[in-house]
Amino acid sequence: MELLSVKDLTINFGGVTAVSKVSFSLAAGEMLGIIGPNGSGKTTLFNLLSGIYQPSAGTIALNGAPIQGLPANKIFNLGIARTFQNGRLFWNLNVVENIIMGLEETRTASIFGAIFAPAKEKALQTQAITKAMDIMGIFGSLLLNQADKIAKDLPYADRRRLEICRAIASRPKVLLLDEPSAGMDSLETERLMNDLLKVKKSIPDLSIIVVEHDMGFIKGLVDKVMVLNYGESIAYGTFADIAGNEQVINAYLGQEDGR
């Protein structure tokens, strides 16, 4: 059975159909790239998948169970975690704390325990810090060396890394990455690609959907690609499948790369 299957997903804003009848499915461990010009509905699709928007029509099923219409926090707890295109870290919290916000402990720790069972709370906190530091380890010492830094003081590329760490801290089944390379130069982008390969390797069961503006970035990374244009999926398949697609070339590849 597919891990995630999306059928005819649609959302209208007034007269605008931002996402129109999009369907795809994702197996465990699979990586899907979504590309499309600016305004083609990529972020809106993520907002639908993560429960920020409720779809006007269509279904989303995780392990066969429908999840469309559930609030964002429930969807996260079911195993879909995301990052944001413009980066939405908790800017005044430090690096460890940002990752701890993704950990299960944060949502299950007892309030009364914090007052009446200080030893237990302390043990839980130590455990959370250990886990957070292990997760940072995916990026070598890059984040570990800045673990106590406030998020807003991080260099740009490390902010994006931190956002990925926070998202995988909950051990999600599906990870949604919204333009992780936005604002990076080519060197940083290449490094990020390697980082993502590392993430994939360290959690083989994790399915990833990555939205990208830049076709080159996903080429070596994903198993399948979906091309969005004006909210519609105009092509869906392996990279080789879509590369020759005329519609795609017209809509996207032929275009100047501008955001």
Partner: protein, 383 residues
Amino acid sequence: MNTYILLSELIVYALFLAFIVIEDPLAVVGYLLALFFGAVVYKKKFPLQTQKLSSLYADNIKQVGLIAALLALTFPFIVNGDPYWLQVINFAILHAIMAVGLNFMTGRAGLICLGYAAFEAVGAYTVGLLTLKLGVSFWIALPLSGAMACLFGIILGLPALRVKGHYLALVTIAFGLIVQELILNTESVTGGTNGLIDIPSPVIFGYDLGTVMNLGFTSMSYLANFYYLCLAVLIFSTVVLYKLSNSFLGLSLNAMREDQLAVQCYGMNLTSYKLYAFAISAFFGGLAGGLYAAMINFIAPENFGYSLSVIIISMIILGGLDSIPGALLGAFALSIFPEKFRAFEDYRVFFYGLIIVLCLLFMREGLVPFKRRIFKAFPREAG
């Protein structure tokens, strides 16, 4: 015990007592300016020492608190049981309980509340009505005053869930006014404008806290009894709120303050967490109200007006939002200063407004900014 902490706290205490002794308003201003510039110059000249001292305090916060609490025990003796100063400090302590309480929701969780006085009102009327009309013991009524305020916190929380920022400020102002009106209009129970008179003093093991404290070698105003009671509740409130602030809950509320959408995408149920913040904060406002009613023996709706809400919020802005030491300092400073300028009584609210404006313009972080994060990484070898 660290001698530096003890010594520095003794110095601060001595400076504070000296401040209390000064009567002349001009001398007070001079004294404050001297202290302020002294502190600024010290910080400039000895940045390393300042840094060291502040991290010494931060690293040994329990010890700092313990020493401060022990020093506080001596206060009634030092002022020789003087009822005037005991009264002023007792009010300062009640304000401090409210300030640390409000700081939890406004500082830690970022939920502005301009109707906090309503929670004190709820607590005060709970103790007033229970002890006066139903003969319930104060010691049972006091926790109930917190619980009742908690309930009102949740009632306020429900309509406030959907709004943010300015709108939340408006909703909380309205809530404060509604509670006041409610008290005024349920005259048969609350006494309306006349308030509740002759609220009994607490009695513990046959000893009435409303009577002179007679220790054999000296005797002090009954206010000394209340001083110790209020101090105990302040210590309790500070410890509980400190623990909560440094728990996973505290972290989640901090994150919610940063980004309400992102925390939802990270599994937080915004509704529950906002209600936790409202209810916990309200609880301490209620306790302060319960103490107030028992100490003053007389409560009326006008004691819990909008201006009190503004006063409490200016205390936490002056001290530094999301800083428990800041809330305590702000509460004491803004409770005691006006006593020194009673000739200018009419300008009191003006003064609080000025403090808020000046802080927001020139000192966003307040007097004791919060720098300490909740979770810290374990030290690791670099590389």
